[in-house]
Assembly symmetry: C2
Homo-oligomer: 237 residues x 2
Amino acid sequence: MSALTAAAQPNRFVPGYLAASLPSSIGGMAKVQRSADPLAAIAQVKVYDREHAIFAEGEAADAIFRVVDGVIRLYKLLPDGRRQIIGFLQAGDMMGLAFAERYLYSAEAVTATTVQRISRAQLDDLLDAQPSLARKLLSVTTSELVAAQDQMLLLGRKTALEKLASFLLALSRRTDGNRAIALPMSRSDIADYLGLTTETVSRGFTKLKTNRLIRILDGGKVELLDREALAELAECA
Amino acid sequence: MSALTAAAQPNRFVPGYLAASLPSSIGGMAKVQRSADPLAAIAQVKVYDREHAIFAEGEAADAIFRVVDGVIRLYKLLPDGRRQIIGFLQAGDMMGLAFAERYLYSAEAVTATTVQRISRAQLDDLLDAQPSLARKLLSVTTSELVAAQDQMLLLGRKTALEKLASFLLALSRRTDGNRAIALPMSRSDIADYLGLTTETVSRGFTKLKTNRLIRILDGGKVELLDREALAELAECA
DNA sequence: CGTTGTGTTGAAAAAGATCAACATGTGTGG
DNA sequence: CCACACATGTTGATCTTTTTCAACACAACG
């Protein structure tokens, strides 16, 4: 399979722009040879509390990050405070890859989070030493773009309810079992991700509950009762 | 400069997702050695009439394209026909890079267009033969993501007038001189790019005209009379 | 010279935002 | 362990923006 076809399936549940899923051996046994995860070798592990900032838009961008555990949000702000969440990141996703001298968005921990920090300088060295890595990163970045397109379609052309249905389905695609899915982020996070207000998100959930498409469980979990109907509502994506 | 910092300036006027500006010697004299533009060597030149399809979402994706001349639109459709334009491409931009087995969006010529067609198979060979190309493509793809983020902010959080102002400013950034900028695409194209209706776009233009921020010239050209005010309206981007 | 497509403008309708109140839930300190 | 305080979420009423529906102007084209 070519580097480009490898980028095929956009099975990440959110664009998480500039984020990327790279096969990671984190948590697994280190039975693979060193070259299997060259990034891990030069990574520094960091832990962030819930709701803490990892970096902010405009700061010098001297590192990229890979999420080991937890959920992170990436977002951009307008001068007057309006916020657009670019993506939610989960284990395996990367962020900071597409940057200039400075970060072009902010990153915060939604839940308590563990990340690997890879300095830009070291990454550049690694890219020189191991040209195949560039192709892997290309493949990964490319699949982010695919997800980004879907999100543009969602933001520009879908109704509130369609956005919600799309969001829940995308989430559930990430969770392996089709059991209940976790919603670690707040209504306000969801709203800023879908281009809505918290009230509209809340009303949407209520409507989906009333129509028996979903059920809210303890711990902020959601069960998708009628995946079929949700897919119809979501208009594909 | 590293491959990543090279991706810095998102000076493309539209995300044009999965499109990418790669330095091209098209139109210039071939005084550079063959390796300067390896893609040109394996490209096949094709010409498309105004409003003609180049490829459609879902078709087998066996080639990528680079625009030599003209303007192209990339878009996705919802089952009921709602359209979201992902980006407008101009000379130097690439499309089709981020794909699976099939194209994930459609491409049509807005104006009469000349493109270079590079077959996937040949591109893959070239990537094997010349690993540095992957790094260039990574840099280019990465800058697309940056533009994509801005578009997500625009679609999710900006008002109609802010969207229009942002669009005009982005366009003008592409046009070197700050003279009049060409608007080869229809109101309906602009609407589908900004997540609006044609009527709202039209009213927006009228308002900008009335407030002396722009002036409509012959041949669908627009002159930005008050770049300052437009920038304020656009809220940055 | 009519026809067709594109753009503009107006009036009515709808979706979503805003403002406001209240409910629920969580965490803290007493 | 309880009571309170503060966060977050839900619901209702109203308002605004944008869409929708409709008419018309205008230009390009056959």
